[in-house]
């Protein structure tokens, strides 16, 4: 995104500055999110008791995540008994290599994908395309982002930042279709391209919303039907899924599916909620011959090892915390520079990719608590951001900063020296114009958006003393009664 992006923090800062000033883009995002809010409020109000439902969802996820080993093994046993295969990947590379090898071994040529944030996480598409496979994203929003060559803007609404005329121009340029400003016509253009992709593909790759332990199933939630087709038509199905996505029982979904829909999009239930327990079974008409589930760790166990923040793994990726976040609304999804944007992304990314490089995300919050309030599984999101700030501060601060604080305390402990220093403050004001706007400007980040105040002539103590002297003079003259 950014031109000077070396460090994640620099990229974040420069993208935040740019997007916060892009008023039309922000207006589009706000409009989309206000539609969401209306729908969510309406559906949420039909619940008899949202709070209890939420406490129960949190309790079930707590049970699942705190006995993760047991449930993953239970899933594996049930799933493999029905002909499925489970592969356990420690990191991105291991997961990618497994899928690449599988594709090679089976003589796969073209691949259709339904939405999987885990795929973004391990950069699966790039790897597959590099090896010569045709890979098509089938979720409309993901398809648009793929054509645009851009990562998703929001992990539930991938192209929410684009206006229809931008999408029309994109289709015109990439597909040669006529321009239109009808969302319906744009959707039909994609529909026609994608229907061929399902029929032609010999491998379908999906993510998964839930790993159901007791029946050995993967549950996938979607609105379009693209995932149904992705795992229905090709002869091989690969589901790439994070190890934390477990629920103990199939019946638990009776709670989670309506809550995911309500929090995620404001629907009673998302268009298609499908549970897949193995490849095509004897006597069935169709379905893949092979079904591989790839369990992805990729540092999830690092977060698991932190009892204080373990509940961040309860996340069902509904996206609600992004939708209500004042920071997300202003800086947008790409600024985060992460696979998972918004408040929950700011909590988990430092665990996944290292606190030192990603601690700045903990500051991308007003601590208003809207995220915590809205989360359907009751994750203490904004407190976790505070925990990350605390943990970052406990790490050794940068050398420059240390020096600055040392100098400050040296000065503050020596009144005479301090008085001397304040005498020279106006001098700084005089010298500042010489460096203003250059890389040498020590207060550049302040002056980029505001005026730097001029240092007053004389300190408070000097002025107070002068004032007292003048008053004494007046009394002496009898001017004051």
């Amino acid at each position: 995104m950014s031109t000077i992006a070396d460090l994640p923090r620099q990229q974040f800062q420069s993208d935040a500055n740019r997007t916060a000033n892009d008023a039309p883009r922000r207006a589009a995002v706000r409009r989309a999110l206000s539609n969401y809010q209306t729908a969510r409020d309406r559906t949420g109000a039909t619940f008899t008791d949202w709070k209890s439902a939420r406490a129960s969802a949190a309790t079930i996820k707590h049970e699942a995540v705190n006995h993760l080993d047991r449930y993953l093994e239970e899933f594996e046993q049930k799933f493999t008994a029905r002909g499925g295969k489970v592969f356990w990947a420690t990191d991105s590379k291991q997961a990618r290599d497994y899928i690449l090898n599988l594709a090679k071994e089976k003589g796969v040529r073209s691949i259709v994908k339904s939405k999987a944030m885990t795929g973004e996480e391990i950069h699966l598409n790039e790897a597959l395309i590099k090896e010569g496979y045709a890979v098509v994203e089938s979720d409309l929003g993901e398809y648009i982002q793929q054509l645009k060559g851009e990562p998703p803007y929001h992990f539930v609404f991938p192209c929410m930042h684009l206006r229809r005329d931008e999408i029309s121009d994109l289709f015109h340029r990439e597909l040669g279709t006529a321009k239109t400003d009808s969302p319906e016509e744009l959707t039909m253009i994609a529909r026609n391209v994608l229907r061929r992709a399902y029929v032609d593909a010999d491998m379908g790759i999906s993510g998964g919303n839930f790993i159901v332990a007791d029946t050995g199933m993967i549950s996938i939630t979607e609105n379009e039907g693209n995932a149904r087709l992705t795992v229905g038509l090709p002869k091989i199905h690969v589901a790439l899924i994070g190890i934390e996505k477990v629920v103990p029982c199939l019946a638990d979904l009776a709670l989670f599916l309506p809550m995911l829909a309500t929090a995620g999009t404001g629907q009673h239930l998302t268009g298609y909620n499908s549970m897949y327990g193995g490849p095509r079974q004897p006597g069935e008409i169709d379905g893949p011959e092979e079904f591989h589930v790839v369990f992805l760790d990729n540092h999830r166990t690092r977060l698991l090892a932190d009892p204080e923040q373990r509940d961040a793994l309860h996340c069902i990726r509904c996206g609600a915390c992004l939708n209500v976040c004042p920071i997300f609304k202003n800086i947008g999804g790409h600024t985060y520079g992460t696979t998972y944007q918004g408040p929950i992304g700011s909590v988990i990314t430092p665990h996944f990719r290292g606190l030192e490089d990603w601690k700045h995300l903990s500051g991308a919050s007003s601590l208003c608590g809207a995220c915590t309030e809205t989360c359907p599984v009751g994750i203490d999101i904004h407190h976790h951001l505070l925990h990350n700030r605390r943990n970052a501060a406990a790490q050794k601060p940068a050398a420059g900063e240390q020096l600055l604080w040392k100098a400050f305390s040296f000065l503050m402990k020596r009144p005479a020296l301090y008085r001397l220093a304040t005498k020279f403050a106006p001098l700084g004001g005089l010298l500042h114009p010489l460096v203003e706007g250059t890389a040498m400007d020590p207060v550049a980040s302040w002056t980029a958006t505001r005026e730097f105040p001029a240092a007053p002539q004389g300190s408070f103590r000097e002025r107070f003393r002068a004032h007292k002297a003048a008053k004494a003079e007046l009394v002496k003259k009898g001017g004051v009664q």
């Binding site: 989309a32 129960s56 959707t187 149904r228 038509l233 599916l257 009673h268 499908s274």
Partner: protein, 233 residues
């Protein structure tokens, strides 16, 4: 066959190591007398449905309307046949894909002569199915609380028939209507026991997307229209 299970032991080891210290339970849920929260409780918190079959049906009809599922009551099989014939004429259909079943099989003979059936039995040609104008299936259940049609790879002619053709028609009986997802899962468990079909899918309205400016468009991939023809119990 590939027997490689990857880092199974290492990952399970890391999980067990990580879990040695317990995490606090921040949201203790309501529990029934001394027990774990049970799925029966979900009903007390989720949107209410009503106890009687009439209330259930009224809610299913109301949700169908807002989801743009076309729900029609049919007095008997003859009416179902007539309705399909009418849809076929209006849509100028040439082929309809379907599977055999208690409710569907009798309909095959009654199809209008200009409409040729593609009967899915074992394998089928993907291109042929893709070119069909409609798909006709049965289902396992209808869910009042969410306005959903529950199909499985066993009840609805496999995985794809209910989602590839642009118009999906479901024939069902009113007795298949259950209260909520909790009842649906319980009923599936009784019906299939340990031999679940490889796919269970709750279909809630025709295929839809809001990806462009969050504006609703029907028929993103699969069915642009979903019709439920409901027979008496």
């Amino acid at each position: 066959m590939n027997q490689n299970r990857g880092d199974r032991e290492a990952i399970l080891g890391r999980v067990r190591e990580a879990l040695r210290e317990e995490a606090p339970l921040k949201h203790p849920a309501e529990r029934s007398a001394g027990g774990e929260p049970t799925t029966a409780h979900f009903r007390e918190w989720l949107p209410p449905v009503g106890a009687s079959i009439d209330e259930r049906f009224a809610l299913f009809a109301k949700l169908s309307e807002s989801l743009r599922t076309e729900l029609h009551l049919c007095a008997d099989m003859a009416e179902v046949s007539a309705f399909i014939k009418k849809l076929a004429e209006e849509g100028n259909w040439k082929t309809i894909a379907l599977h055999t079943g208690e409710l569907i099989s009798p309909l095959i003979l009654e199809l209008p002569p200009q409409l040729s059936p593609l009967l899915l039995q074992s394998g089928y040609d993907k291109d042929e199915l893709e070119a069909c104008d409609a798909g006709l299936t049965e289902c396992d259940l209808l869910v009042a609380q969410t306005g959903s049609v529950c199909v499985t790879s066993k009840s609805a002619g496999g995985r794809v028939l209910s989602v590839l053709p642009p118009h999906h028609i479901v024939v069902a009986r009113k007795s298949q209507l259950v209260t909520d997802l909790t009842e649906a899962y319980a009923s599936l468990a009784t019906k299939y026991r340990d031999a679940y079909p490889s796919m269970i899918s709750f279909i809630t309205g025709p295929s839809r997307t809001g990806d462009i400016e969050r504006i609703l468009v029907l028929g993103a991939h699969g069915p642009k229209r979903l019709t439920v023809l409901l027979l008496p119990s």
